[in-house]
Symmetry: C2
Subunit: 347 residues, 2 copies
Amino acid sequence: MPPRRATTPQSVTLRDVAKSAGVHLSTASRALDPTKRHLIADTVASKIAGIADKLGYRRDPIAASLRTRRSKLVGVIVPDIANPVFSPIIAAITETLSAAGYSTIVADGGQDRRRQSALVGELIARRVDGLVLATVRRDDPILKECLREGLPVVLVNRADESDSVSSVVTDDRAGMRLAVEHLFELGHRAIGHVAGPAHISTGYLRRQGFEEAMAARGLTLPADAVVEATAYEREAGEAAAAELLKRNPKLTAIAAANDLLALGVYRAIAAAGLSCPRDISVVGHNDMPLADMVEPPLTTIRIGPREMGHDAARLMIARIQEPEAAVKKVVLSPSLVVRASTARHES
Amino acid sequence: MPPRRATTPQSVTLRDVAKSAGVHLSTASRALDPTKRHLIADTVASKIAGIADKLGYRRDPIAASLRTRRSKLVGVIVPDIANPVFSPIIAAITETLSAAGYSTIVADGGQDRRRQSALVGELIARRVDGLVLATVRRDDPILKECLREGLPVVLVNRADESDSVSSVVTDDRAGMRLAVEHLFELGHRAIGHVAGPAHISTGYLRRQGFEEAMAARGLTLPADAVVEATAYEREAGEAAAAELLKRNPKLTAIAAANDLLALGVYRAIAAAGLSCPRDISVVGHNDMPLADMVEPPLTTIRIGPREMGHDAARLMIARIQEPEAAVKKVVLSPSLVVRASTARHES
DNA sequence: CTGAAAGCGCTTACAG
DNA sequence: CTGAAAGCGCTTACAG
């Protein structure tokens, strides 16, 4: 039963336009392509444009794709579309790309490697001109896959370890330094860290930043002061924080590797019969939407997601236009946003 | 400068498979199409499949699309990708669709009608097999556009007024009744409503539900007890609530048309030097992600977004498979989730 | 059960 | 500046 659209109006093709204008198909094609229009006599070109308009002609991108092997389509894969951090990043990517004539197709890659790999394959099959990835691990086989296909790739928010791919991230180490410095200045000395997964650059680097900042202040770091969450999810943050508190009853502050984890920390604090920030101060990371509306409003590190998205899109456009261009790594500076989840510690 | 991928390996086509198997192109095509495979001798078919596998053949969906005018692609347009309500809806749609072999392309339609219209045109040009819309107004010209094209459409969360399109929504009136009843039982009598935009079904129907529920309890509704927000955004909710409080200083409770508006109401309450729920109780609508983490944790109406997404996807699949099938309107039952933003009112 | 052929709607070397 | 022709990779009536 081939599902046939009963009423589909036979849409107008280039052939129709050409015939109606009394020119050859190829002339019509050129006249309607901004980059080729100069090849055609001005009067002819504008006549063709007028007729195309009148007939309601729209170029068939599928047919064009088949011929050119390009699509004016860029894929964006995020690890979790439900994570609010990605909303502004996606929005910014879409805006910039669309201004340059590219459509965006965003997909949720999830945690599963096989699913991600299948998704990439699917997008490649659909001839995307490039892929923006917010999913990669520090050492991710998917990248090799893309590079093998010769597909332009730019990484956003998370980077990989190789130097083979452009990326835009914030300075994760610096972000954690900001967090620790802030806590230190409030008088905290016993500070713990709920880390993100070590196989993701943000988890790895923020943990490094934490340890460096602690060392810089001469604070000893008990072996138990860091617990790694299994994923960037609230539940994982709660579990990790519960463990952290059990091991370190003296903790007066916790820096979390991201905001969702920080919300899990809130839970663990409450479950332990403690209160934030009275007993324990908490700093998040990312300043995701609604971070200001939770209780207590979350002190966190702002990463400029819109700028990140814009830059990623710009890198992508550059890369598509000039595939041999040098790899470019953009690192944005994070900033501290102080709200109510951190308080002075009187010892 | 046609951007050419320097290293693209000439990918293996159907022709390669056929040649390698010593059969005709068309035979290979049939053997590799599950719905046509029975036409081919079993031994031949499995030989072809084996070879396709070994060669790493992947069907080119672009070429197939051009020929069949179908794409196995479904578009999903949401009004605001940053609104957390849509995350689980999108995720559920994607899951169900993908299980049925369809890919999803999600796009942010924004508020602008022209942009939405362009987006729809773009997706149609890309030959999507159907469109799931979470953007429509009660009387939306875009629907006519889609119907004219013969494109399967299903509406999710918001419905239109005509009976020409399938949809899955929650019972918006019932939801507001739940909210008002809850407040009534807590002792509230002076209840206001921050309504959603009246041109959207949820705004319109929830307001009706509010007014009906108030009437059912014999509560008089001063003309000033409802203020309509200009959009489903926090800022708009704050502005509307500020207006509401100014006009009705005696209010002890506010039912908001959705959670984002409710968060705006929180702000307006604080700005007025009042406290929720001590002075004013607030009920939201949707139970979006993080609604439990705001302060105070939001009492709200749960709409079952995942079920909504699944149902929408199922309707879409049915419609694609059987375009003449009857229009179906699914209405899910909402439920009340009591948290801490509502409290007993002692008068 | 299999093959030969047409054609989906474009773009782009190649000629002139 | 314009035309004629080939071809992107598939699917599917039409034959046999």
